[in-house]
Every structure is written in C-alpha cells, then in structure tokens.
C-alpha cells in the first residue's frame, strides 16, 4: 500500500499548497511560470526560466508593494501538455498572473484556454506563432515579445545589399518557419528579389540529400531556416556534397551551438546574415547590463550559458512586463484585473533591446537585429550587429487588408 500512501501524500501536498495560497493572498501575488523543461526545447526552457527569474530578482522579489511568488510548471512543447500544466497553475495553484509558454503551438492552445479564465491575465513566454495574436484573439492574452515574422524584418534588404538576387528557401515544415520565411520574403520580394524554389523539410529530418540535389545552379544564396540538430545535419551534408553557396539564416539557425560546430564549412559560415531579436554583440548599455546581470546570477558553472539565449531574453522581457505593470498599479488586481490590464496595454516597456509597446491585439511592436557572422582575432565565430530595426509591428509595415499569415505558399515570388 505504499503507492496508495504516496498518492495520498501527493493529493495532500496539493491541497495544502492550495490552502496556504489562499491564506497569503493578501500580501503576495502569485505568478505561474511555464516553460519546457522536457522534450526538444528542454535546454531553451531552462534558460527561459532563468530569464524570468532574473526579472524577479531585479525587482527584489517585490512588485507593487507585494511579494512575488513564482510557481513553476513544465511542458514538453506539446500543446495539450502545456494546457494541462497551465490549467494546474491557474485552477489548482490559483495564480493571479500566468507567464508562458515557450513554443508556437503551445501559445495558440494556451491563448484559447485563456478565454475560459477571464479573471486571470496571461502573458506570453516566448511562443512566436503569428496566429496567437491575429486569429481568434483573446482579450486577456498579452505578448511583449515580437514573433517569428517580425524577427526577420530587415534581412531581405540586407540580402539584396549582399548581392543575393535569387535565393532558395530551405525550411522546416511548420508554423514558426512559415512565419520566418514570410518575414524575410515579404521584404525581399517587395524590393525585387526572387525565390524560385522553396523546400519544406520535416522537423527532425536527418537526410537532406534530395533537398541538396534540388538546389538550382542559378541561385545566389540559400535561406536556411532550420533549428538545432537539423541545421548542423544540413550543413554537414551540404559540405559533403561540395556546396558553396552563401547562407542566410533564420533566428534559431545561426545560434552559438552552430557557430561552435567543427566541420570544414565552419569558415564558410563567415558572412552569413540572419535576423534575430537578440544579438550577443549588441553594445547598448542596457543590453550589456542585462548580459552582465545574467552572467553574475547564472555563471556557466551553475548551468547558465556564456551569454543569455533568445529564450532567456524573451522570458525576461515578458516577466518584466508583468512586474512593471504591477508596480504601475501598486499591486491592484481588483475588478477582474481591469486596471492591471490597462496598465499592460498602455505601458512602454524598457527592455534590454529597446522600447516595446503593444498594438490593439496586445502584440508587441519592438526591435529586431540583422546580424552577420564574423571571426574574432582568436578564430572564434560570433554574430556582429549589422543593423537594428525599430518599431516593427505584426503587419510588417503592410496594410491590414494586404497582410496574410505566412504559409507554405504565402508569400510567393518565383
């Protein structure tokens, strides 16, 4: 019967946690924090949590005169798991504010769930699906980070400046790369670039031989929107096949782990341009202070990264928004959190990468970087900031009626 006893302990713990929450509700504000601590994005999720915790630490664990209590939950990048974890935080642990989740599909699902909990305010973690704040929007879901398409703004022009007039797109076959490709192409095509071929490959694919065989001779560069292991696999196979075209990268393609990879083509990565909401070498004082604070709190010896990842930054931004707005209303969450939401909607958030405002769909209007891979004197590769683009909205500068959410076939300019 030990198992029964364990189950009972589990239930008792949960019940106690719920009751103790009620007792302290006067002095504390509970914030639920959801990220992926399992599955393909486990490392990113852990860093996202670090970013969010850093924001709380900078507030000394207080906001609006109340103590902040963080309750964490984990998912594995699957929407149903994310909703289950969110439901536990909201309905069982009775959090006042939710911050999360990490990935795109989860974001759409949690946004749908938020509609059933009108008294709780949901703030995004780092999920970047366009549809979250465009289709079937929820009045209590806020996103202070820019999304996949916004991150690529400025890259189309940079590619043309490099002399890439025709490019082939190689990207994973799901919503986030669609957004990224759209962000790139809508600008690139408008300025006269051509994309004759788009190859959509399955997420987690191992064999890129057929894709590499389809690369036309007459394209000037490859736009590679692959993440993590997929990107490394592609680069290795492209190198083995004798490929020599320059690359244009997505936001998670030319990350530090790719730059550390040891293949012969490593040097040919020099000159690769990419669009991203974070650039390690950005030298604004706010960003440098953020990086220094991250490094102080999470040294590499304690499991942190040498430099905060995209997830750390984006979770930091969203958590900071939650806390700053609490400060602005002096911790007043009464009236279905109406004042709090108004503060969120109207605030201009100071982030390490510039000011962020929200549009009428509660989606961030913010800044993004165009970066280029360069070699430092020690022979290490890093991303140099080529250009910072400010004030990008979710319509990417288009009129609302011209804008269509990115898909496999949209946009198109063969």
């Amino acid at each position: 019967m030990r198992k029964r006893a364990l189950v009972r302990t589990l239930v008792a713990t949960a019940v106690l946690a719920a009751f103790s929450g009620v007792a302290y509700a006067q002095q504390t504000v509970k914030i639920g924090l959801l990220a992926t601590l399992e599955g393909p994005f486990a490392a990113g999720g852990a860093d996202g949590m670090r970013g969010a915790e850093l924001a709380v630490k900078q507030h000394n664990g207080m906001a609006g005169g109340k103590k902040i209590e963080i309750i964490k939950a984990s998912s594995d990048a699957k929407p149903d798991v994310a909703v289950n974890a969110t439901r536990k935080l909201v309905e069982q642990d009775k959090v006042d504010i939710m911050v999360g989740p990490l990935s795109g599909g989860e974001g759409v699902a949690v946004k749908d769930y938020s509609k059933t909990q009108p008294n709780i305010t949901f703030i995004n973690g780092s999920s970047g699906a366009q549809a979250t704040t465009l289709v079937n929007t929820s009045p209590n879901f806020f996103r202070f980070n820019t999304e996949g398409a916004q991150w690529m703004v400025g890259l189309g022009k940079a590619a043309l400046d490099k002399g890439y007039k025709r490019v082939m797109v190689i990207a994973e076959d799901y919503a986030f790369p669609y957004s990224q490709v759209q962000g790139f192409m809508s600008e690139y095509c408008r300025l006269g670039g051509k994309v004759p071929v788009k190859a959509w490959v399955p997420l987690g694919g191992k064999d890129y031989a057929s894709v590499i065989a389809r690369i036309p001779k007459d394209v000037d560069a490859l736009v590679v929107v692959l993440g993590g292991a997929d990107a490394v696999n592609f680069l290795n196979q492209y190198e083995a096949a004798g490929g020599d075209k320059p690359l244009v990268g997505g936001s998670i393609t030319v990350s530090q782990d790719i730059l550390n990879y040891k293949g012969k083509r490593r040097d040919s990565l020099v000159g690769t341009i990419a669009g991203s909401p974070i650039a390690d070498a950005y030298d604004a004082p706010e960003f440098k202070a953020f990086v220094a604070d991250y490094q102080k709190n999470y040294p590499v010896s304690a499991g942190g990264y040498p430099s905060p990842s995209l997830f750390a930054l984006v979770y930091y931004i969203n958590m900071k928004a939650a806390l700053d707005a609490l400060d602005a209303v002096n911790g007043d969450l009464s009236g279905g959190q109406a004042k709090y939401r108004e503060a969120l909607q109207k605030m201009t958030l100071k982030t390490p990468t510039g000011d962020v405002r929200l549009d009428s769909n509660r989606q961030a209007i913010g800044s993004t970087f165009v970066t280029e891979v360069v070699k430092d004197p020690q022979g290490n590769l890093y991303n140099k900031v080529l250009r910072k683009v400010d004030g990008i909205d979710q319509m990417l500068g288009m009129k609302k009626e011209d804008f269509k959410i990115g898909t496999r076939d949209e946009p198109s300019c063969p």
Partner: protein, 366 residues
C-alpha cells in the same frame, strides 16, 4: 491456465461453454460466482465514490484528474483487453484513439475552418467511431499473424507511420498545427466541457466500457479469445477460426479506444500529431502495465496514478528533476509487482486471507 485444467475441460467432452467455466474461474474469482448476485459491497462503494467525487473535489481535480484519468483509462482498457485477454500487445491503440480524435476535428467544427467540414456533431462522432474501429480492425489484420515482440514492432510501426502522416499531410490532417478548438457540443442547455458535465460524460462511457469488457470476457467470444491466447494451435484444432477471432478482438479494442479518443480530444480541446506520437503510444502501455493487465479495472487505476504523477510530481521536487519521481514510481511498481497495482492488491489480499487461488497470475503480458 494449467495444462491439467485444459485436459479436464477437453475430457469432460464439453464445447465452448464448459471450457468457458474452466477458463473464467481462475481469471475472475476463485469460486464460481455466476449463480450468486454479482453486485458486491465494493462495487457499490466504488460507484458511490465515483459519483460523489466531483461534488467534493474542486473543478480542477474533477476535470484534469478525474475526467482525464477516465478517458486515458478507457484507451488503456482497450490495450488490457487485447493484451491481457488476447495475448496481443498493440502499441497502436493510441493511434486508433488519435484517428477518432482527428475525425471528430475533420467532420465536426474546429478552429481550422478551411478543413473542418462542420457537419452535425452526432454525425461526426458516429463517423469517427466507425472509421477508427475499421482502422483498429485493419491494424489487427496487419499484425495478427505475428507474435509477441513482432506484434509490438508492427503496431509501433503503424503508430509512427500515422504520426508522420499527420505531421506531413496538409489537406486532411493540417500538419503540425492539427485541429484546435474541438469541443463537445452544447446539448440540452449544458456545456459538456464544463468540469461537472464532462466528468459525468466520461464516467458514463468508462463504466460502459468497463462493463462491456467484463461482459465480453464471460461471453463465448471472450472465452474463445482467452483460449486462443493460451493455446492458439489447440483452439484451431477445435475448429475456432483463430485469425478471425483475433481481428475481431482488434475491432472491439479499436471501438473502445475510439470512444476514449473522442473523449480525449474533447478533453484537450485540440489534437495535433503529438497527441498520437510515440511518447503517447508508450504512455498507454505504461498505464496498462502500471494498473495491471489481470482485470479491466487495472487501466483505470493505472491512469489515475499516471495522471496524478504527471500533474503533481513537479510540486514534490525541483524543476528539471521531477521526471525522476515519475520514472522512480513507475520503476518501483513494476519492480515490486510485475502485475502492476492490481497484482500488489492481490498479493496483499492473498497474504491476509491465505486463499490459494490468487497465487498464479493469469493474463499478464506474454
């Protein structure tokens, strides 16, 4: 089922029914109970507890623990039926449930209006159940000529193939995104997705599934199936069509899994390729094994433990480590009781009552 018992049964010169008695007796209870009143005290207690539970528990516990456990338990029940009584471990039961879930999204209404046909909910659900049952039978037909580990392999292959089909097909399965906002209908002025109505809906179908399986195991079909599990060659010699029985068992299990799949998609409100991905194929096996495959009650108990751990393990231990608790508990249960939690219960009971009938576990995985 000992060889001696078999010999007795055959020697008694009886057909299916006499054999049935011999087969059923050690499976269900030590003494033949058919003549006694089958309703016993613990049945009443459990049923009362199930009915009272949502009125004392919070909506969260009712919905996320109660309803989710029962829906998952129903899907695992189909595996217990196949594995425990048919001797066929199919990893594709979640695939069948996933097919049913997808069909509800495709024929009914969802957030993806371009693909969803928007037909009335009853038509969508009926079609979903029919197609998933057919799919279950088809998977059975594919894998029925294999044994043991090969059945596991072939059903795993089918499951993974379906996962990739969903992940890469645009026109029907809507790739990575799947279908969002797949909700039960609002009927008789009740929103069936509210915790209380939804719990009762799932409870009704779980009880129906449970009693259906219990009935089936005593019916000639179920008895023949257990005979086939224990000695297919002899059953064949007795004139039973072994393959047909097995495929039929897959179809029955497919139907149960399909009902569970419809309930699960309504519970989640969405379905994506990951809903029928490899981890879920395995999870269903874990639930079935955890509870024990000796009795149709097993999968439900396994599901409750599984869901409780999934939900609350993170409160017991910090961040990245909580999967350790889940894994540790699973390991401990399987280690100390190969028959799952039911086996543990039976062992305890045997220790206290010293009844001999419980010493031989029947219906485990083979």
């Amino acid at each position: 089922m000992s060889t001696a018992a078999w010999r007795n049964a055959i020697n008694a010169g009886a057909g299916r029914l006499a054999m049935g008695k011999v087969v059923v007796a050690p499976l269900q209870e030590a003494k033949p109970r058919a003549i006694q009143n089958p309703v016993r005290l613990h049945h009443v207690v459990v049923l009362a507890a199930l009915l009272v539970f949502p009125w004392v528990a919070s909506p969260f516990v009712t919905f996320q623990i109660g309803a989710q456990s029962l829906a998952l338990g129903l899907i695992a029940l189909s595996l217990t039926f196949l594995g425990g009584y048919g001797g066929m471990i199919s990893l594709a039961q979640m695939t069948v449930a996933g097919i049913a879930g997808y069909m509800v999204g495709i024929f009914g209404t969802s957030g993806t209006a371009e693909i969803s046909l928007g037909w009335p909910w009853w038509l969508g659900v009926a079609l979903a159940l029919a197609i998933a049952t057919l799919a279950g039978a088809f998977i059975g037909w594919l894998s029925v000529r294999t044994e043991g580990i090969y059945t596991i392999m072939i059903t795993l292959a089918v499951g993974v193939a379906f996962y990739y089909l969903c992940l890469q097909n645009y026109s029907v399965f809507n790739v990575f995104q799947g279908f969002q906002q797949v909700h039960p209908p609002k009927l008789f002025g009740i929103n069936w997705r509210d915790p209380l109505p939804f719990y009762h809906l799932v409870l009704f179908w779980s009880l129906a599934g449970y009693f259906f399986v219990k009935y089936l195991l005593r019916a000639p079909f179920g008895i023949a199936l257990q005979g086939i599990r224990d000695n297919p060659r002899r059953m064949n010699a007795l004139g039973f069509h072994v393959t047909a029985h097995r495929v039929a068992a897959y179809a029955v299990a497919g139907f149960i899994a399909a009902v569970g799949g419809v309930l699960l998609v309504w519970y989640n409100g969405l379905i994506t390729p990951n809903s029928a991905g490899t981890s879920w194929l395995i999870n269903i096996l874990i639930i079935a094994v955890l509870g024990g495959m000796r009795h149709p009650m097993g999968p439900f108990i396994g599901a409750i433990v599984f869901v409780l751990l999934q939900t609350f393990a993170i409160d017991l231990i910090d961040r990245e480590r909580f999967n350790l608790v889940i894994g540790g508990v699973f390991l401990a249960i399987v280690l100390f009781s190969p028959d799952g939690l039911l086996g543990l219960w039976a062992a305890l009971q045997a220790r206290f009552t010293r009844r001999s009938g419980f010493s031989t576990p029947i219906g485990g995985i083979r």
